[in-house]
């Protein structure tokens, strides 16, 4: 039972991270369209932000693995 709950929790975390990374990607595309000359800066900041969001989700997934 706790295993199922952990799996559900991991799923919820993935939804959160999906929304977060989706927003980052969308806004970055928008920013690049507005200012194509700033593409390098935007890209590296986008990856950085995506990694931060993804980190939160992955911590939950790893926790879900270790909760039996």
């Amino acid at each position: 039972m706790t295993g199922t709950l952990a799996a559900l929790g991991a799923g919820l975390a993935v939804i959160g991270a999906g929304i977060g990374i989706g927003n980052i990607g969308a806004k970055a595309m928008e920013a690049i369209a507005r200012q194509p000359e700033a593409v390098g800066d935007i890209r590296s900041n986008m990856i950085l932000m995506a990694a931060l969001v993804e980190g939160a989700a992955l911590i939950v997934i790893i926790l879900a693995f270790f909760v039996k």
């Binding site: 390098g40 990856i47 950085l48 990694a51 980190g55 992955l58 911590i59 997934i61 790893i62």
Partner: protein, 420 residues
């Protein structure tokens, strides 16, 4: 081009299905013993040797990402690795892991000074009655204690409990207290030494090229390393660290190329590669500890002021803010550690689960049609995942490096803007 792709695809498929069938041969014999093994499993004296249960993809994945005291080269051929084991009551034992005389599934058939090899990992018998020195053991089993599995070794028809895998802290930080310490050159340590030699050779040859080929276009390793080096310097070090970047550049570069090298070596699915180094919590913890110590020691007055008494905010906010900031000092490196570990581990697990589809659909080698069907699904998925992992190897090295640089930059920032 298309022809090459099709050939490659079918070659991979063939290899996968073949390996699934190879698995079948010896699982098939076990199938009959398996039935009554289940019946005796919950007996009090369930000390008979019973063979592995049904194919478990999750267990296989965890076994593959874990560190081990053996390194499989091919089939039943293992690279002997030195075991350096210390148990407080028995002293130091050093020997090669080949002395365990590996049988199937990475289990040793010998016990040496109460040490046994179970699924490629050294474990210690937790019983004083077990003889010291070299003795032959029959097989391994496990019993349930609450929620946890306790592994057991069977020696002369008698079950002996095994202590959990050792950790450097003796199990204080999770994993339980163990009776022994393992300082062995494990699979991961071996991979790190290999990576170290590779990096030294690559950078040595690139560095030499700058003196011998001064003023000419880069060549060989130099032409790959130079753009990456310049990218990290211009995109990571300079924006975050300002003029002090030269002081921290060697550290950032070492971290970046170590993580990148280890990620890429871990991607190679066969012998010299496949060690899951950056997907090991101890490794990422050590890397993060370096970052943590360097950040704290290079932190200037402003950095500490911002943590303990944030300027420019009302006093009551400071009381709330200070504990949060102090916690932040520790949470930042912890997330850094977990991010790299989780990303690489997740990637390895997903690839292994995809390969496992062959065994799941093939009913652990029982049905050939299932294996082929599983293979047709597994090959493109695995190829896709490996391509993604190649990207992740670069991105995670970059992210670790950029976050380390941003923490360093925050700790060493001189000037101070008015608004916070």
């Amino acid at each position: 081009m298309r022809k090459i792709f099709i050939t490659l695809f079918s070659a991979l498929l063939f290899t996968f299905v073949l390996s699934a069938q190879g698995h079948e041969g010896h699982d098939h014999d076990d199938q009959t013993t398996h039935e009554h093994a289940d019946a005796t499993e919950h007996d009090d004296h369930g000390c008979a040797c019973h063979h592995d249960e049904k194919y478990d993809a999750g267990a296989t994945a965890f076994h593959h990402i874990a560190d081990a005291n053996t390194f499989r080269i091919w089939g039943d051929l293992y690279l002997p690795l030195p075991c350096i084991l210390y148990a407080p009551e028995a002293g130091l034992s050093t020997f090669m892991s080949s002395k365990f005389e590996l049988g199937g599934h990475g289990d040793g058939t010998k016990a040496i000074d109460r040490f046994v090899l179970h699924h490629g990992t050294v474990m210690r018998v937790a019983d004083d009655k077990f003889p010291m020195g070299e003795v032959a053991v029959e097989c391994f089993t496990s019993r349930k204690e609450g929620d946890e599995d306790v592994f057991q070794v069977i020696y002369q028809g008698q079950c002996y409990d095994l202590h959990k895998k050792s950790t450097l802290d003796g199990g204080v930080l999770g994993g339980g207290i163990t009776s022994y310490y393992d300082f062995s050159i494990t699979k991961n340590v071996f991979t790190m030494i290999l990576g170290l030699i590779l990096l030294l050779w690559l950078f040595g040859s690139a560095a030499k090229a700058y003196t011998t080929r001064d003023g000419q276009a880069p060549k060989g390793a130099q032409s790959f390393l130079e753009p990456v080096f310049v990218f990290i310097r211009d995109e990571v070090a300079i924006p975050f660290l300002g003029d002090k970047y030269e002081k921290y550049l060697p550290f950032l570069m070492s971290i970046f190329f170590f993580i990148l090298g280890m990620n890429l070596i871990g991607q190679i699915p066969f012998f010299p590669g496949s060690g899951n180094v950056t997907g090991n919590l101890a490794v990422t913890m050590a890397l993060t500890l370096f970052v943590f110590i360097i950040v704290q020691f290079s932190g200037n007055k402003h950095y500490w002021e911002h943590i303990f008494w944030m300027p420019g905010v009302p006093a009551w906010v400071k009381i709330i803010l200070t504990p949060v900031e102090v916690l932040g000092v520790f949470i930042k490196p912890v997330t850094l550690m977990l991010r790299l570990f989780a990303n690489i581990t997740a990637g390895h697990i997903v690839i292994i689960i995809f390969v496992s589809l062959i065994f799941i659909f093939g009913d652990a080698g029982e049905s050939v049609a299932g294996s082929i069907g599983g293979g047709i699904i597994a090959v493109p998925l695995t190829l896709f995942m490996m391509a993604i992992e190649l990207l992740v190897a670069f991105i995670q090295a970059f992210v670790f490096c950029i976050l380390a640089a941003s923490y360093l930059g925050a700790a060493t920032e001189e000037h101070h803007s008015e608004h916070h």
